[in-house]
């Protein structure tokens, strides 16, 4: 009986499907999306590349002066993330001392290009 009630109620209401490209679900604040690096604050400590669970972060040369805790540091390297390999686990974000590497709150896929690098 409860099945019939629910059936005919559904017949009268709109479907609960979200028609994707037109409608979108709200993305929560904590959502772990595409990875990004802010170049201005990364101090090049390599911590992210050490903790990355799939080892998709490699450190590339990028000498630059960085302000960190009121000091000027000279960093040598910065991370380059292979988007295709990243599993969005968020470990790099969790362990980065400056918050330079982070997962954007944005629903976007990694695409099919294996060589895309986020930096």
């Amino acid at each position: 009986m409860s099945v019939l009630v629910e059936m005919f109620r559904n017949l009268l209401t709109m479907p609960s499907t979200i028609l994707y490209p037109g409608e979108r679900v709200p993305i929560p604040d904590k959502f772990r999306g595409r990875i990004a690096v802010s170049d201005e604050i990364c101090i090049g400590c390599s911590k992210c590349s050490l903790v990355c669970s799939v080892q998709c972060i490699s450190m590339v040369d990028s000498p630059r002066e960085i302000r960190f805790k009121d000091k000027i540091l000279l960093r040598k390297k910065k991370p380059a993330v292979k988007l295709f390999k990243c599993i969005r686990c968020g470990l790099c974000e969790r362990h980065c001392p400056t918050g330079a590497i982070y997962l954007k709150n944005e629903l976007s896929d990694s695409g099919t290009d294996k060589e895309v690098i986020a930096a």
């Binding site: 099945v3 059936m7 929560p28 990355c52 599993i87 969005r88 968020g90 997962l103």
Partner: protein, 393 residues
């Protein structure tokens, strides 16, 4: 009619994961069956031994797509016990909330799949629709729908904000109402009762004999739940009941799971309302001392066991994962004999099998038809030979 061999699997519409039953049937009756489990061996235990405690957790979460929190919790629980660190109560509560939400989404999923196996796709659509609510809550709390990534050794990775708590609490009454509706549906939908009642019956003795766990065991009146008998996380503080049933058939397992859904809603509500303040993690040591531990956890499908041995480094020396599905297989194979061919999907689905989590070994038929174990190098060589044979690079 003479006996025929009906090959079910490794590719079959009823199976979402690869497994092979060679069913020898006499008309519609099953005479006997051969079971071949391991089609998706992933070497996950070996891979886990290569990674330190930070990097191993994302891997262990991916042992199973449904009970991902179970696998990481049982592991960090064991490691914390070896390290003898006590995690803050707020972290305990958050882990409990995620664990129970996970149980809810797993049981709702199961209910849909069980209905789908008897061709009742309507219930499948409805439970999966309502499961989205649970998934939304989980996504809000952790950042992902399936692999929550909440655990780390020493606590949880992120805190619950007050608005997340209130959003979750708002969803619970609606979910509760839906779960009540499912209780009614299961009890008065005639075709479901016809297909579930008396199918795959296991007596209490048989369950104890074959070592079945989880809802399968509890449906046969075995009053055993790790959450109560060996309390971990916040379960000791929360008022809740172990759901058992005496039917022992698929219907009983459905009742147990729906009862657990009710309990889970209550546990989540209690935890959300009474979550203590404080930090969510402590700085745990990077290195675990020598030790061995058998960590137990009540996953949605039953008792999950991780055996962990550490050797004073930042990696585990050995980890052995015993998934609940493995414990339940024997009982499935036993209760299928002499049953109807049409009951296979129902009985198999009734334990909520998770096959890829269970695969620990790969057996490959050599040309002589003899089972044996081959090494990775040999596998690779064969692959190269076969690729060359097909003209692939």
């Amino acid at each position: 009619m003479p006996e025929v061999t009906v090959p079910i699997g490794p590719h079959h519409p009823a199976l979402k994961e690869p497994v092979n039953f060679k069913v020898i049937a006499d008309g519609e009756k099953i005479v006997r069956l051969e079971l071949d489990l391991s089609y998706s061996h992933r070497g996950i235990e070996k891979a886990a031994e290569q990674r330190d405690f930070i990097r191993v957790l994302p891997l262990l979460e991916r042992v199973c797509g449904i009970c991902s929190h179970s696998h990481s919790t049982v592991f960090v629980k064991g490691i914390e016990e070896i390290m003898q660190v006590e995690i803050p109560p707020r972290a305990q509560y958050i882990r409990t909330i995620i664990a129970e939400l996970e149980r809810m989404h797993s049981h709702l999923l199961w209910l849909g799949v069980a209905a789908h196996e008897i061709g009742f796709n309507t219930l499948f659509m409805w439970t999966w629709r309502d499961r989205e609510l649970v998934q939304d809550t989980l996504e809000e709390m952790s950042g992902n729908r399936v692999h929550y990534g909440m655990n780390e050794v020493g606590g949880v990775r992120c805190d619950l904000a007050p608005h997340q708590v209130s959003a979750a609490l708002e969803r619970l009454p609606f979910l509760e109402e839906r779960i009540h509706q499912y209780t009614d549906m299961v009890n008065d939908q005639q075709t479901m009762l016809l297909r579930f009642k008396g199918v795959g019956k296991l007596s209490r003795e048989e369950v104890l004999n074959y070592g079945a766990v989880g809802p399968t065991a509890r449906a046969s009146g075995v009053d055993y739940d790790v959450r109560r008998d060996d309390p971990y996380l916040a379960y000791a503080d929360v008022p809740w009941n172990v759901v058992t049933d005496t039917n022992g058939d698929v219907y009983g397992r459905t009742c147990v799971r729906i009862g657990e859904l009710h309990e889970s809603v209550n546990i989540v509500r209690y935890c959300l309302e009474n979550i203590p303040e404080g930090p969510v993690r402590i700085n745990a040591p990077k290195i675990a001392p020598d030790g061995e531990i058998m960590s137990r956890y009540e996953a949605p499908r039953g008792e999950l066991v991780h055996f962990i041995r550490t050797n004073g480094t930042n990696k585990v020396e050995r980890i052995d994962i015993r998934t609940p599905t493995l414990a339940n297989w024997t009982s499935v194979a036993m209760c299928l004999v002499n049953k109807n061919l049409a009951d296979i999907p129902v009985i198999v689905a009734a334990i909520d099998p998770c096959l890829s989590c269970t695969s620990r070994i790969t057996l490959i038929n050599t040309p002589g038809g003899k089972p044996g174990i081959i090494t990775f190098d040999e596998l690779r060589k064969r692959r190269q030979i076969s690729d060359k044979g097909r003209g692939l690079p």
